[in-house]
Symmetry: C2
Subunit: 307 residues, 2 copies
């Protein structure tokens, strides 16, 4: 039996999920309350499908896409129901009530929520055990990470297997947290990047260059913890913590928490405009996506090289 993915909310995130399902040969039903969003989906989805074809060789076909007029039609018979609605608790909870009224008993209901937690969303569900948060990272069809939290082992195991079928890299949280893992890290990083601007140490574009040509290049290969293991010399992280731990703690104290004053905001905006140098957001996104595809192809071949 073919797996069926129901995509609820067909903006950028929903579009990526739908493309992933189609590319893996799943049946995909998609619904959005906005007629315009439903109507444009079959055309919009070609772009992520083309990316996935380029990256993995997966087929470009919309034959199994069914855009439905109602939520009920989309949800009926679905294995996995992925909700991508705006980040408003009452709105999402109203959708869950409608979903629960129609969904198969074994269906998994997953929220792509970035900013909300499982506890804040699950309160009104009849069967919260089959509900999970499953946060993808933008652009979701090109970034493998999906951060997962839920309370039922069986649901989590089945969800992880489904996301792996979609070529995703599911990472499970042991305890729910606002911002999950990745957005907490991104937020911590940006706080200091903003602080460096606020302190007048460097400009926006130079900070971004330093990242891309420096630690950012390494962070797609070596995570934050592993970086300090390899920075500790032959003794690794044990040596690092024993000898440089105290100076790291001191460094932490010297980092800033800037206030986003109107003046600082203007400097950030001005800095981005200089860095963009006339390139529009779609142009910048295109450059990003092209490079993300190249990098992942390289990472795949690099990994294959050494087994």
């Amino acid at each position: 039996m073919t797996t069926r993915l129901a995509v609820i909310g067909c903006g950028l995130i929903g579009e990526s999920w739908a493309a992933l399902g189609l590319a893996r040969g799943w049946d995909v039903s998609a619904w959005d309350p906005a007629e315009k969003s439903r109507a444009s989906l079959p055309e919009r989805i070609i772009r992520p499908l083309t990316h996935l074809n380029e990256l993995h060789g997966w087929p470009i076909s919309t034959a199994k896409l069914r855009v439905t007029q109602t939520l009920e039609e989309a949800v009926e018979g679905a294995t996995l129901i992925q909700e991508n609605a705006p980040e408003q608790v009452p709105l999402k909870q109203a959708l869950y009530a409608d979903i629960e009224a129609t969904a198969d008993a074994r269906a998994i209901i997953a929220s792509s929520t970035s900013a909300l937690t499982w506890s804040s969303l699950s309160g009104t569900l009849k069967v919260p055990e089959r509900f999970i948060t499953a946060h993808p990272f933008n652009p979701p069809h090109l970034i493998p990470l999906v951060e997962i939290y839920g309370v039922d082992e069986g649901t989590l195991t089945r969800a992880e297997a489904l996301y792996r079928e979609l070529g995703r890299s599911p990472v499970r949280l042991k305890k729910e947290a606002v911002g999950h893992i990745a957005n907490r890290l991104a937020s911590a990083l940006w706080r200091e990047a903003v602080n460096i601007v606020a302190e007048g140490i460097a400009d926006v574009a130079d900070i971004d260059t330093a990242m891309r040509d420096g630690p950012g290049l390494r962070w797609s290969v070596t995570g934050a913890h592993m970086a300090y293991h390899l920075g500790g010399g032959p003794g690794g992280i044990r040596h690092y913590l024993a000898h440089l731990g105290p100076s790291q703690v001191k460094r932490w104290q010297s980092l800033g928490t800037p206030e986003l004053t109107p003046e600082l905001c203007e400097r950030l905006i001005d800095g981005i405009e200089r860095q963009a140098a006339g390139r529009t957001i779609p142009e910048l996104e295109n450059e990003r996506d092209r490079l993300l595809i190249q990098l992942q192809k390289a990472r795949q071949s690099g990994r294959n090289d050494h087994g």
Copy 2:
């Protein structure tokens, strides 16, 4: 006239600098107070030279490498003197005194220091105008970033041109700062990565996976600031700051500053051991370096693709 690079201190950092100079056809003289370090350099340098050959097609040759018995011989006639001594102010200042006694008047004296600032090092120099900090990022021959600070425009301009000849990406600080840019960012990121372990949200290996398959992948393409520009929708960072700035500030307040207690250190060490899964540090470094080469080749070809 061939450019001459003097490498003072021939550990891992010095070895990378020397390899870069040789690969670009410069004369390279190298000195280290330790006889063992001097003796092993010609053999050790083959590894970074091979990496550079693979990455850029630069020739593998040690014909222009001269390991000298004294600092004076290394420094004589050098265009750029790159000091890579341990991070101790008196030790470095003693070296600078010896360097100044021999160096050409126009030579640039650059410190690879990671943790010290220009002001803390320059006090005893006779001509501090020609002294700069020029911090590379590990492994220096594979990561292009060099963070530069100094007080003399002419020196800075000449230094940047030399580092560009070495294929580096120099970024100039407007104001000196402990940790320059990149290590401040790395430290801010790791603080939250450690906090996520301390809070029990996720384990070491899962955090690193989330990074590598999530934001880390993007950070080699899109810097911290640009990521929020592209996360702001059609309105970019201006829209983001106006609408999501306050929630970002709230997020910042929710991030942690963990204490590196012995118990937490043991959890970090244990987590790294699980992640390493028996791989030694040289093995992990090899994997990192292979992937860094593949990624940069991909990034080069990705950039060429769209001009």
